[in-house]
């Protein structure tokens, strides 16, 4: 590119920055950013694209899904206002306290709840619980995940043990799906996984889940919620809330929900996550 053009481009960028927030931004409204985490099968890019196409006209603003390497990054970006909304696990939601507002809770199998699964390779026919996995290799999904880490930590705490004592080795895969893969491959002798993710995988990728066996399903916990960052306008919050809750009312929305293996969205309450908050405190204190 000749220098003159490069200069012109720099000038244009500078001008657009100068007028941002005024006439220019009114013509093209700033996109609504939604951070997502592997609380669902976030590697389905076509689903995300179709979901964004569904939301954009209903919100009157373009929607942009943002993915990061870990739960923590998404939570940090949302808390600091870099992201408008996020679909995160209940554990970081309760940890963040008042800084995050509850938007909606997905409804799964008729309730805004899900369970955590303890899985082992399918060729392991003997393991019946956590205690059988002593001196074994264990896979967690994300350190900030409820089903993928906290539930197991809490159960070990009940047994008066710490993960590094009980297991020979532990590692984090960063996603529930990868926990299933690690256990299926035999890399880990056991794994903690989101029950909703495992069930959905069993539906769309049975070849993978058939190589694992669910040993334990935990008691129900509040489903990973949609939350709003501190700087989001109440009107924006309400609009997205309405659109998400209404998804079950039209054909296209229902199709998307079916692909996500969800029944719909509900307003939800903070109390759904009280159990998680209690476990989190106990584990933090235990350490």
């Amino acid at each position: 590119m000749p220098p003159i053009f490069r200069f012109t481009r720099v000038l244009l960028v500078a001008l657009s920055l100068l007028f941002s927030g005024s006439a220019l931004s009114q013509e093209a409204p700033a996109p609504l950013s939604i951070g997502i985490t592997p609380v669902f099968l976030d590697d389905q890019l076509s689903l995300l694209r179709d979901w964004a196409r569904y939301l954009t006209p209903r919100l009157g603003r373009p929607v942009e899904f943002v993915q990061r390497g870990s739960y923590r990054e998404i939570v940090d970006l949302t808390v600091s206002g870099k992201l408008d909304f996020a679909w995160i696990c209940g554990f970081p939601y309760v940890t963040a306290g008042e800084r995050l507002r509850l938007l909606t809770v997905p409804v799964y199998q008729g309730r805004p709840e899900y369970r955590a699964y303890l899985i082992v390779p399918s060729d392991d026919h003997t393991t019946a619980g956590l205690s059988d996995l002593y001196d074994k290799v264990f896979a967690f999904s994300d350190p900030d995940s409820n089903s993928g880490a906290l539930v197991i930590r809490y159960q070990l705490l009940q047994m008066k043990k710490r993960p590094e004592e009980h297991f020979r080795k532990t590692f984090y895969t960063g996603a529930h799906r990868k926990v299933v893969e690690a256990v299926a491959a035999g890399l880990a002798d056991g794994g903690a996984v989101d029950g909703y993710v495992w069930d959905t995988l069993a539906r769309i990728e049975p070849d993978l889940t058939v190589r694992t066996r669910v040993v334990q399903a935990s008691s129900p916990y509040g489903f990973p919620p949609f939350v709003a960052g501190p700087s989001v306008e109440q009107s924006d919050l309400q609009r997205l809330q309405t659109v998400l809750i209404a998804m079950g009312e039209d054909e296209e929305g229902r199709r998307l929900l079916t692909r996500m293996n969800l029944d719909g969205f509900t307003r939800g309450e903070r109390a759904l996550y009280d159990d998680i908050e209690r476990m989190g405190r106990a584990v933090a204190a235990g350490h």
Binding site: R168, K169, Y172, G174, A185, G186, L187
Partner: protein, 479 residues
């Protein structure tokens, strides 16, 4: 066995054998070379992949990130072989700095955090090598099962933090080698498919003159068949020269054989002549006496009917014996009247009726212009004999030809007819007495003619082919 085979096959077989040996040798050399190259390629590509993997594995190994390391090591296996020719590892192992399994593509065989040596042979050996590894270089080990293990140190800031062990199956080379060998074999077969028929064709062509010559030579026994004809290649090479020489020798041999046969015939005829002349003389003397006695008895004796009959019978019998004997006893009587052209014209008139019976045409070429110092009677007798024979042999409406000339001091008359050829067996005995194919013939005509010609110092020859039988009488003219 092979020695007895005809050159028609021997030369092509040798040619084919030579091509086969050459093709096999060239193909083997190429395959050997390719196998070497292949091994080098495989090792080079394995080294390259190991180096990249070892570098990529540094961060997860330092952060104790098992999952990321697992994703890294499984990625080459997940992508699948790029091509059947590409080398594809069987197992990838990452060891930590204490040679314990950090991560592996086969976690069931190699449990995490366990020493590598627990996996059994050959891994204790590999663990020792890994423990002794320094920052640079790699180690290549082949175990008893033929599997190839490539050990590469994982180095961060000059410190060895782990070891990458990439294991290739024992049959890394075989399928590639086999596919290459199959291709080489295909090309060799293709070349053979072209060359073998060509060599076969050349071989057969090369052997052809030799085979013909051998075939021709085989036909020659004690006698050379008259109809022997050999179409031999005439060229300037050895075989061509042999062929030319052979043809020449064959010609000479044929000539010699003909000459011999002629000589034998002449000798036999001479012997028969002498014998019959001797017998005739011996018989003629008592015959003369017997005739005289009969005459005297008739003239002076008184004969009753019975005696008269007996004497007449005796006389007739004795006269017949005399006629026969005198016919055998051909004597060129010394008659001095020379032969004139008119004598031959007389002969033409004499044979006219015999020819007319067959409606045959007579081509008459009498080139005689003046008197010839030969007995006119004898020449006339011979020519009449030959012409009457010709008139007999000529087919209805055929042609009889006479050509009489004086040539190189010889009188020569050629009498031809266009009848059937005289059979080979008969032609040899043609001039012997009492040989005839006619029921009314005496078989003495040609004998007499031959004897006359002999006595005049000349000769009669016959040449008989279908449609043309010629008798040539040649008589030297003594001035």
């Amino acid at each position: 066995m092979f020695r007895d085979l005809t050159y028609r096959y021997k030369i092509p077989i040798r040619g084919t054998l030579l091509i086969l040996i050459t093709a096999t040798a060239v193909a083997s050399a190429l395959i050997y070379r390719a196998a070497e190259d292949l091994r080098d390629d495989v090792i080079t590509s394995a080294e390259g992949m190991s180096r990249v993997l070892a570098r990529t594995l540094v961060p997860p190994l330092r952060r104790d990130d098992v999952w990321t390391a697992y994703e890294i090591v499984t990625s080459p296996l997940k992508s699948g072989p790029v091509s059947p020719q590409a080398i594809f590892p069987e197992t990838i192992l990452v060891l930590d700095d204490q040679q314990r399994v950090f991560v592996t593509t086969e976690p069931r065989r190699f449990p995490l955090l366990r020493p590598l040596s627990m996996a059994g042979a050959p891994y204790p050996e590999l663990q020792k090598i890994a423990a002794g590894m320094t920052g640079d270089g790699h180690a290549l080990e082949t175990d008893a099962a033929g599997r190839m293990h490539m050990l590469t140190p994982i180095v961060s800031d000059g410190i060895v933090i782990g070891t990458l062990v990439v294991t290739y199956p024992g049959d890394v080379f075989e399928p590639r080698f086999a596919s290459f060998a199959a291709r080489a074999a295909m090309i060799t077969l293709l070349v053979l498919a072209i060359l073998v028929p060509v060599s076969w064709y050349w071989g057969v062509r090369m052997a052809q003159p030799l085979v013909q010559l051998a075939h021709c030579l085989g036909k020659i026994g004690p006698n050379i068949p008259a109809d022997l004809s050999c179409s031999l290649v005439e060229s300037k090479d050895e075989l061509g020269r042999v062929s030319v020489q052979f043809q020449r020798m064959l010609g000479e041999l044929k000539e010699k054989q003909a000459l011999e046969r002629q000589m034998i015939a002449a000798e036999r005829l001479a012997a028969i002549g002498r014998l019959s002349a001797g017998i005739a003389h011996e018989i003629n003397n008592p015959l003369g006496g017997m005739l005289n006695a009969i005459n005297t008895y008739r003239r002076y004796g008184t004969l009753d009917d019975m005696a008269e009959k007996t004497v007449s019978l005796l006389e007739r019998g004795v006269l017949q014996i005399r006629d026969t004997v005198s016919a055998l006893l051909v004597e060129a009587r010394t008659e001095r009247r020379p032969l004139t052209p008119a004598d031959l014209e007389d002969v033409r008139m004499l044979v006219g009726p015999a020819l007319q019976k067959k409606s045959a045409r007579l081509d008459w070429e009498n080139h005689l212009e003046e008197e010839v110092a030969l007995s006119s009677t004898l020449v006339r007798q011979v020519v009449i004999n030959l012409l009457l024979n010709a008139a007999h042999a000529v087919p209805v409406e055929g042609v009889v030809r006479l050509c009489a000339v004086i040539e190189a001091g010889c009188f020569s008359a050629e009498i031809c007819n266009d009848g059937e050829a005289i059979a080979g067996e008969r032609i040899r005995r043609l001039f012997e007495p009492f040989v005839t194919d006619r029921p009314d013939g005496t078989g003495l005509g040609l004998w007499v003619s031959y004897q006359i010609a002999q006595q005049l110092g000349g000769d009669i020859r016959v040449n008989s082919e279908p449609g043309c039988t010629c008798f040539t009488v040649t008589l030297p003219v003594t001035p």
